[in-house]
Symmetry: D2
Subunit: 341 residues, 4 copies
């Protein structure tokens, strides 16, 4: 009954097998054959033959490197208040960018809107030497509320951004879950919807620790790679990152793992909805559930061994975040529902 | 009829006289006698015998150096959305601090509240390794809306801040105007109300280009001075800054100049209030007026040679910002009112 | 015949086995049991019960985080011109420290001396507000020339540094090779010789990608951990780093692997010395050899499939760097020597 | 007998008169007429009609802003060990550039050579992802040893730099002294010799605190201006900087003041050379003298009230730095020589 986070799961067996099978010697720092192979594979999966790829070992690194490449130190990056880059990365984006400013956009259900972005942009005069320069938009899909941006929602946001010259980033820590939930292609959910740089997550979905920065505008790639090296994120035994990502994208493993996580969340959500006095806070569209329930219920679950985060508490009720992963089983779900029933 | 900004005014004659009278040689970088003298004078004026002082030539420098000393690179600084440090300094605070995050607080009339601060602080868990660390509060007085924080309002905010370990900064670009408006002492409006570091403005109020960072906790002084040097803000002919500040604080010149600016604004506000279809947006407590009026009126004033900023426009109306300075005269005010009448 | 770098080797089987055996779920970000265990183990190995540990995935990250914690942004860090932090990390230390300055120290055979350090320090007046502040000394052992600092050499350097208030860092990318070569204990080669923070390498010696920052002064640990998070170097599935390091330090594996690498280098060096017109540039004390030989010889080796770096070239001769690793075999060595003979 | 530094002198009367005559109101932040006028004047003086200008109040600001614009954060800037940017600006260039590395070049008499630069560049492989990227060359004229680079020497250095794609900066804190000493035009000593950005000093030569960054490649101007604002170096009452610079460049005042300083230094040097056991360390080509003499002589001068810096001391001798300024008089020089005689 481990619902704290998908990043607490282990490594998928298919991935571990690839790691164990790696050759005994190879050129370091990405000069190896596996890295070349995985770059080709990502281009194929994203139908983006000119895309460039940089593998790193954390989502914070992927996001901060991407945004530092999209915004000058005197730029503004627009995002949601609950975006990982704003709330959970300890000023990494400010650090990597050399001092860019993050400005938050209102919205609901984990999403923001073109109108909210337009209003925020309108507050910054076009040629004010004193103002921070609007530079980038950062979205997250699946959102931090577990909801899903459809490609057309992303496109509407990136179009508004682009009218003012902003570049667009997508934090795809749960990109595979978003694809599995929507049935969209990787291209539809990224560059076709106006995304310039994607943080393609792997760690939360069965890898040991690999995220791919996918750069759809290849003119940005060299700077991003220099920043990766300077940030200590160019690993010498790089092929072990590449091997994980190769396994991930082979035979649709990534979508299978994400589908399992999403499916378990759907089952859990369906069960929760049948319980009296229990309320889903957001639509459950991927592998993450926010549920509002009476305090004693949460207490009972915790006592029974369930692990999860509490988001808010008050008036005898509590909001829990429950996250399913590729390794969550039907038994986990049933056991959790049974403790609440 | 120059109401664009108090920083468009000139240098007060008393100040220019001091500059012209400076000695022909002196030790550079603040090793001169005038600098020592002005430090003593500031301690006396603020009833703060252990205060330390660093003179710089811009408010942006004063604010950014102060906040960089109060917040680590991984810290959060809380301020208003319209604070100069957030809206008008092109990421200077992010730059000087090495990447601190600015988080804005809601409020009205240019002010925020202890409740708003408390709510913002409550969103950051006490020991979350992923979150930016709450580090400092930055207030502005006179506010950017031309309103006045009373010392007890400042104290209520700094107490809330201090409960969570934050240090407190006051952007006093118009500190003299705030004193003149409130009748408070300099001490009451700063350290007695919980302020750790003050940006004491001079430039908007008759100096050529001097702001004093007044550091009430002397343990912060050395780091701030190193940061000043590293930021290119330690002037070699430092005594010319000190001479300006000495003249400013001698015989109450600063309060006299601010009183003149405030008085002209009061007169202008009183005149505006008598006009039909003209509305003051905020209480006028210092030298700055926000007035909402019909478009054609603003147009008429501009045509007549008046200079001012437009803040917002819509529905046939426009909001103007009118700022009086030490050199605004009754004739300027009367002429402006006459064009509108 | 792969002698390009020890970081081109693979993962030792004992380490891969530990990875494969990891539990299916665990608390992320180092809150797991393996991380606690490996911290205890490092304290034991270093006879330093209060030491703190931060695991990261690259040597650049380990070095830059360590030095950023030891030097303020306005500090000077002294190191060798060929130090990894100066020559091979693309300004990572300048980046992580927020702008510290690296000043290089002369010396020979990959080493510097207390006299060279003292001379460099003497050039910076004690209380000069304009000068960068001497802050840290960074040494490397094994050195970049493959030579070995004995503990008493390190102690003489750190004593000179400490007299001026500097903190001391050791880049131990090849620390295990240094221990294996010297027969010293880990404590003798680190904190007993005056080292405050050690970058303890694992990647070049059989791990997949783990370096441990070992912090002997625990007052530095919290800041270093915040910097790690902010730098994107706190991995969520942290236990996979810990599991590698646990295997590394269990039953002396790290010293066994390093001993194998050193032994192969010794055998290779001995063979090279018997060849006419071939000259070892530095004493071979660990797993790295610099050898000066006629161009055609190098060409012959390369043609035969040997892989290595050329360091310098001129007058018909070339200097090669040959690095042995834990997976270098006697057959590799013999084959290489045979091509030259 | 004040020979400590030219920055300890006062403001030239012609300059003070311009300040006092400034208009009572003007648009802030450089939107005034004087600023436009002084930009035109600089273009004329430098025969560079497309040059852009940014005025600041310190040499450290001018240098750091210039170099930050010329080098990315992952770049290397080559300079002399005694360059102001390396030795006397407390890591300002590292700070403003976001972490660029300064690498020092050997040489003698305050100068470096194309050969030294070429050797330093040769140590950095062309396409090494791990190395800091060679980005800029920073020269100083007059040099820190008081010697003079002739335009053809500068051109030889900038040509070597340009072959590797470096941009070139000249720290001209004493540019007027260099012009007065050489009889060259401003163009010959700057862009015609390959300089991209010049820090044109005024403060050491009769201004209160103004340096002009002269940008010969106008494509760099916008970024430099944004950096100036972000660094707190865009002054609101900007016209008081412009007024100083206008006076400086009017009727050859700058060259007259520099000529006076150089002349006094020449007279002082001539006098020193006649004294037994007194030795000039470098050729005296501008307004700065380095003289090696017996300890007791220096002591006698100090006792008689002379003010100067000691650079080195040992074996009963001491090296003094004696700097003449625009306000040094023949009487000062004679009095000093008399105390030594």
């Amino acid at each position: 009954m481990f619902f704290a986070s998908d990043n607490a799961s282990g490594v998928a067996p298919e991935v571990m097998a690839e790691l164990a099978a790696e050759a005994s010697h190879a050129l370091p720092y990405g000069g190896d054959a596996v890295t070349a192979e995985v770059t080709d594979r990502i281009r194929e999966v994203f139908e983006a033959p000119r895309a460039e790829v940089a593998l790193v070992t954390s989502g914070t690194a992927a996001n901060a490197l991407a945004l530092a490449t999209l915004s000058p130190p005197w730029g503004t990056i627009f995002c949601r208040e609950d975006a990982h880059v704003e709330a959970d990365e300890c000023n990494a984006t400010e650090f990597f960018s050399g001092g860019a400013k993050l400005v938050t956009l209102p919205g609901s259900g984990g999403k923001t809107s073109p109108e909210a972005l337009a209003r925020a942009l309108a507050r910054v005069p076009e040629s004010d030497p004193h103002a921070s320069r609007p530079a980038a938009l950062s979205l997250t899909n699946l959102t931090e509320a577990g909801t899903l941006y459809r490609p057309e929602e992303i496109a509407a946001l990136t179009e508004t951004a682009r009218r003012r010259g902003l570049r667009c980033h997508l934090d795809g820590a749960r990109f595979a879950n978003a694809l599995a939930a929507s049935g969209c292609t990787a291209a539809e959910m990224s560059w076709r919807a106006g995304i310039d740089v994607l943080s393609l997550g792997g760690t939360k979905n069965g890898l040991m620790g690999v995220e791919a920065v996918v750069i759809f505008d290849p003119s940005l790639a060299e700077e991003l790679r220099i920043r990766r090296k300077r940030g200590g994120h160019l690993l010498s035994k790089h092929r072990y990152l590449a091997a994980q990502m190769r396994a991930y994208l082979a035979d649709g493993l990534w979508l299978r793992l994400a589908g399992q996580a999403n499916g378990m969340a759907a089952r859990l959500a369906a069960g929760l909805e049948t319980l009296p006095d229990v309320r889903l806070v957001h639509p459950v569209e991927g592998n993450m559930i926010f549920v509002d329930l009476p305090d004693p219920l949460a207490h009972r679950a915790r006592t029974a061994g369930a692990v999860f985060y509490e988001m808010e508490r008050g008036n005898g009720r509590v909001t829990l975040r429950l996250v399913c992963s590729w390794s969550t089983t039907g038994r986990d779900v049933e056991a959790f529902l049974a403790t609440l029933a």
